[in-house]
């Protein structure tokens, strides 16, 4: 044991998730989502989750799997386009949605992990997003936004060591390191699980202090939503 946080699989790593909890889920669209964890949630008997995720899945995939099982009561996200299942549930009032501008959304999560309770931003001033929020005049009017935290975060990294130090590939990083910082229990699945000391310290994107459980994932689909090649390639 010692510093190792290694679990056998998603099912074991997600022990402790209960109905009514707040769950953060990494990924931008389908890029960088925790595929194994989402599949495990699909099998679990839980409901009334509050899910914090930029898109709540997309194109019928990712978190949409548990959305259509009606396991999500409330969602906090920035973008619904490309997710017709979510749009349908919003209009049918089956899920309550809080839309947060993407930069504000990211910063609220970062703040949650960093111990900052709230901050002022010009983003959203003069729009529906500002309704009911404190406004203060700095160089321009800004609205107060509050931090987001969670009971669990499920994220995926390309490489991770047994302590939970992580390395993300290309644009798959997005919200994942922020969510790892903001959740009480962060569960990470990786394509390559490595012994402690394998990752050069300078190359670690997220130090393992923010990670509670890590496991070797399997059967990755890594779906592409819109495949467009260069003209020469066609």
């Amino acid at each position: 044991m010692g510093l190792s946080k290694v679990c056998k699989n998603a099912e074991q790593a997600l022990t402790g998730i209960k109905s009514g909890m707040i769950l953060m889920s990494g990924g931008f669209g389908l890029c960088g989502i925790a595929e194994n964890c989402i599949d495990a949630l699909e099998q679990m008997d839980i409901k009334d989750l509050t899910v914090i995720s930029n898109n709540i899945g997309n194109s019928g995939r990712g978190l949409v799997k548990i959305l259509i099982q009606k396991k999500i009561k409330r969602a906090i996200c920035s973008y619904v386009g490309g997710n017709p299942d979510l749009e349908k549930q919003i209009f049918a009032k089956e899920v309550e949605v809080e839309l947060s501008p993407q930069g504000t959304f990211a910063e609220r999560i970062r703040a949650g992990g960093m111990g900052i309770r709230a901050f002022f931003t010009p983003t959203g001033h003069g729009t529906l997003v500002a309704e009911g929020k404190e406004v203060r005049e700095f160089d321009k009017p800004c609205i107060m936004e509050t931090a987001l935290t969670a009971d669990f975060a499920i994220i995926k990294a390309q490489k991770g060591d047994h302590y939970g130090n992580l390395w993300f590939k290309e644009t798959a990083r997005n919200f994942s390191p922020l969510m790892a910082m903001a959740a009480k229990t962060t569960v990470v699945e990786v394509e390559e699980l490595l012994p402690i000391g394998s990752l050069p310290p300078e190359d670690i994107h997220l130090p393992g202090i923010f990670v509670q459980k890590i496991f070797q994932g399997a059967n990755y689909k890594n779906d592409i939503e819109f495949l467009i090649l260069s003209k020469e390639a066609k």
Binding site: F28, G29, L30, C31, G32, N54, N58, C77, S78, Y79, V80, G81, G82, E87, I90, L99, P101, Q102, G103, T104, A106, E107, I109, R110, T121, P122, T123, G124, H125, G126, T127, L128, V129, Q158, F168, K169, E170, T171, A172, R173, N174, F175, S176, P177, L178, H205, N222, D223, I224, E225, F226, L227, I228, L229, S230, K231, E232, A233
Partner: protein, 209 residues
């Protein structure tokens, strides 16, 4: 009579300078990315966490984890970098992006933009648009001049929920280029053959500077 999407994109590109950083929104602004001349040295930012976007991948460089904000596959140029979403929006909100090009549903002469929802009909969410319009040094809206009903999208006051208040610097449509100044749209340029009477809401427009 009016510009094509490609001609509109070239008009937008004429505002870019060597060395600048540029964010291109989803929808019509993606045409700008396709037409950026190789001689123009700019860093294209995509808010999902990459600076240095460069066209489309080949079969060999194609990667499911290399995408833009529209979830489309991309490639990167030398000097590119990857980062998390908080840092990405720090670049935007912190004023480090020179130009942001976004689509629009309505723009008014008070420099307001609406582009994220139609109440009761359509919710797309604002994504990064509210941050982009508040943080970028220059906000360019690229959109068709008229909506599907044939009404002008350049109006005296936006009716749809706003994306940002007092944020738009320039509007490029298929009919011309307009700069809202708080009271009117100042005409910077008109497409060949377009006259004031074609613009709709004629009283909102003032002739060339």
């Amino acid at each position: 009579m009016s510009w094509t999407k490609e001609q509109m994109a070239l008009e937008v590109i004429s505002y870019f300078k060597d060395g600048q950083s540029i964010n291109l929104g989803i929808g019509m602004p993606t045409v700008v990315a396709e037409l950026l001349p190789p001689t123009l040295e700019v860093m294209v930012h995509s808010e999902n966490g990459v600076l240095g976007v460069s066209g489309r991948p080949s079969q060999e460089t194609l990667s499911p984890t290399l995408i833009n904000a529209g979830k489309e596959t991309i490639s990167i140029r030398p000097g590119a970098s990857f980062f998390d979403s908080a840092l990405s929006f720090g670049m935007i909100r912190g004023g480090h992006i020179d130009h942001s090009v976004l689509g629009g549903m309505e723009v008014d002469c008070q420099r307001n933009l609406a582009n994220w929802m139609i109440p009761g009909q359509k919710i797309t969410g604002m994504g990064g648009a509210m941050d982009l319009v508040n943080g970028s040094k220059n906000v360019i809206i690229m959109m068709t001049h008229q909506n599907k009903k044939g009404e002008s999208k350049l109006v005296g006051q936006c009716v749809l929920p706003l994306t940002g208040a007092n944020v738009v610097d320039l509007v490029v449509t298929d009919l011309g280029i307009f700069r809202p100044n708080g009271k009117r749209f100042i005409i910077e340029k008109l497409a060949p053959g377009v006259e004031m009477k074609n613009l709709g809401n004629e009283a909102l427009f003032s002739g060339t500077k």
